[in-house]
């Protein structure tokens, strides 16, 4: 079985994000970029599946500008077997990504798609669900545990009330959550091998997908700065402040 892992290139989680002076987006020039941390967890899970004999090939795919090939190389250096790069603008909407991935799935025929539950840049949390819907496949979202059982997968989902245990039919799309695993570092031998691993490049037009944006960003702003908290003397004062100042009760 083949596992497809879409990996997104995002601003590194250590970088303090700054809004552009003209409020059209966030500053990307000279900013350190890295693989979306949730996608790293997806790569790790795919590699573990392969190492335990549950998969025979791990293919990393990334959609975006030429620099996205660096993100694919990172996946290859972790141990993925092959990469696919789809040339597209950096700002591409989840629906367009899902449509492109659907075409990749049609060509590659993976048994599973492992993908981060969301990307840490726009936090959309849509691509995995949209992909499953377009494919008509089962989906397991916010997954923190997975076990393959023949043609189905037992997944543990992190939901508001606790943990939900589900069995999903394969092929399936699985969006992974933080606690699923701890991703490995790239190994030196794999770094040296990464460049020799195949990396196919294609454009959105090659896949016959319309990626024109459906949304318009009107303005991007910094969230308001958090104000310092206050200490209250007793419950009565707390209730009074909640009622009359915060106006939440």
């Amino acid at each position: 079985m083949k596992v497809l892992v879409p990996v997104k290139r995002v601003i590194d989680y250590n970088v303090k994000v700054r809004v552009k002076a003209d409020n059209t987006g966030v500053e990307l020039a000279n900013v350190k970029m890295a693989m979306n941390p949730f996608d790293e967890i997806a790569v790790e899970e795919a590699l573990r599946l392969k190492e335990s004999g549950g998969a025979d090939e791990v293919v990393a795919v990334s959609i975006g500008p030429t620099q996205n090939q660096e993100t694919i190389r990172t996946a290859l250096a972790m141990g993925a077997d092959r990469g696919i790069h789809i040339e597209a603008p950096h700002e591409i909407e989840p629906l367009a990504v899902a449509k492109l991935l659907k075409e990749v799935v049609a060509r590659e025929e993976p048994g599973l798609v492992f993908v981060g539950k969301q990307a840490i840049d726009d936090d959309c949390n849509q691509t995995g669900q949209m992909l499953a819907a377009l494919l008509g496949w089962a989906q397991g979202t916010f997954v923190s545990g997975i076990e393959i059982k023949g043609d189905s997968a037992a997944v543990i989902r992190e939901v508001d009330g606790g943990l939900e245990h589900l069995e999903i039919r394969m092929p399936a799309v699985v969006t992974v959550d933080l606690r699923l695993n701890e991703p490995r570092y790239a190994s030196l031998p794999n770094i040296m091998k990464a460049k020799k691993k195949p990396l196919d490049s294609m454009s959105a037009a090659d896949l016959g997908v319309d990626i024109a944006p459906r949304l318009t960003i009107t303005r991007v702003e910094e969230p308001p700065a958090r104000e310092a908290g206050i200490k209250v003397c007793d419950v009565a004062e707390l209730v009074d402040k909640l009622k009359n100042e915060a106006k939440v009760i």
Partner: protein
């Protein structure tokens, strides 16, 4: 001329940086306070690095190492330089000199060192022989088929965790037109060998947790197969293999300076006085400008020296320049980073005071700044008959 990194080099840098940030930074305060690295923590770091295939990255693949060239290794060391040396010691870069191992030494020392089973430490300095290495008074004399060692070595870095020591001792004296010149031989000595004692060293202001030890030899009897390289050929093995260790010092200085600079830069933006960011005052802004200029200069000087080694070009002068400039730059940059922070920079809530203390030794070990200047000027003057 090409100043960019290859994809592989880029991945080496980002992987090592990420390792240091994730695995080393969180342990630093505790190690600094404790003044030692517990063996268990050392083993955990070593095991992770072994799993990543980065252990002994400076050794050729033919003996199980990572096969990095001098430039790539300098990049790796630069990223390690950001972290506490007491901890990054366990990232495992055995002394290259072990490539001089022959016969059964390969199985007893070289391969176990590359596999992370044994750690080594290098022993040259003596109480009366610092910059004047050849002035050493630890001796080995022939007795039957054996060698008998007597004397004391000190400032032996990393010695508390070492399983064996690479020790340079005098094995005779030659009369030369310039006066008597000692013959030096290199020996491999196991911890616990009779007549050999490892004693605790001095408490240093720099690199708490990365200890130095004192070695004592009292009629320590060694067989011929403990000689590394040729008898009386100690300087030859030293020159063939230890030539590049100054690049390690230089590049680690660059890594640490960048980390100190990152602190100063972010504080210059966050901290407001007199109603504006302190970075907007020329007094602070110009400091940042000078700091980054000096760091970049040291970075390129060091990488180009490493590149020269890889190209087989003469590099002695360039390596000395890199070591000299990078270590002196680190002293200035850590000092200025504290100045940007003001009083807060001296408190141990931040690592800046530690960087500042650690920086002091870099101008001393692996050849003082004065020795590096001596090397540089000698290389310049000699061809002109100087």
């Amino acid at each position: 001329m090409q100043f960019g990194l290859t994809e592989e080099q880029d991945l080496i840098v980002s992987t090592v940086r990420s390792f240091v940030e994730t695995e080393i930074y969180p342990l630093e305060d505790e190690i600094e306070a404790r003044g030692a690295v517990p063996a268990e923590i050392g083993r955990q770091i070593r095991d992770k690095v072994l799993e990543m295939g980065f252990y002994a990255a400076n050794f050729p693949e033919s003996v199980g190492g990572g096969g990095l060239n001098n430039l790539e290794f300098a990049l790796l060391e630069r990223e390690l330089g950001r972290g506490s040396m007491a901890l990054t010691h366990f990232f495992g870069r055995p002394q290259n000199i072990l490539m001089a191992c022959e016969g059964d030494q390969i199985d007893r020392y070289l391969l176990p060192a590359v596999r992370g089973e044994k750690m080594d430490a290098l022993a040259m300095t003596e109480p009366d022989a610092g910059s004047d290495v050849r002035g050493m008074s630890t001796t080995a004399r022939r007795d039957g088929g054996d060698w008998v060692l007597n004397g004391t070595k000190h400032f032996i870095s990393g010695g508390d965790h070492a399983d064996f020591f690479i020790v340079f001792v005098a094995t005779g004296v030659d009369d030369t037109p310039h006066g008597p010149k000692k013959r030096i031989t290199c020996f491999l000595v196991d911890r616990g060998h009779p007549g050999f004692e490892v004693l605790p060293g001095y408490k240093s202001v720099s690199h708490a947790g990365y200890h130095n030890v004192i070695l004592k030899f009292e009629d320590c009897r060694l067989a011929d197969n403990q000689v590394l390289g040729a008898v009386d050929g100690g300087f030859e093995v030293m020159n063939s293999w230890l030539y590049a260790t100054r690049i390690t010092v230089a590049t680690m200085c660059v890594g640490r300076a960048r980390r100190a600079f990152d602190y100063a830069l972010s504080y210059a933006v966050e901290r407001k006085q007199f109603g504006k960011q302190i970075g907007k005052f020329q007094g602070v802004g110009f400091k940042l400008a000078d700091m980054v200029t000096e760091i970049d200069a040291a970075d390129w000087l060091t990488l180009s020296a490493a590149w020269r080694l890889d190209q087989g070009l003469p590099a002695n002068r360039e390596i000395a320049s890199a070591k000299l400039h990078a270590s002196e730059m680190l002293a200035r940059v850590t000092d200025e980073a504290i100045q940007v922070y003001g009083g807060m920079g001296l408190m141990d809530d931040l690592p800046l005071a530690r960087f500042w203390r650690d920086a002091r030794v870099e101008r001393i070990w692996d050849g003082t700044s004065e020795i590096q200047r001596h090397i540089i000027s000698r290389e310049l003057l000699r061809p002109l008959g100087g």
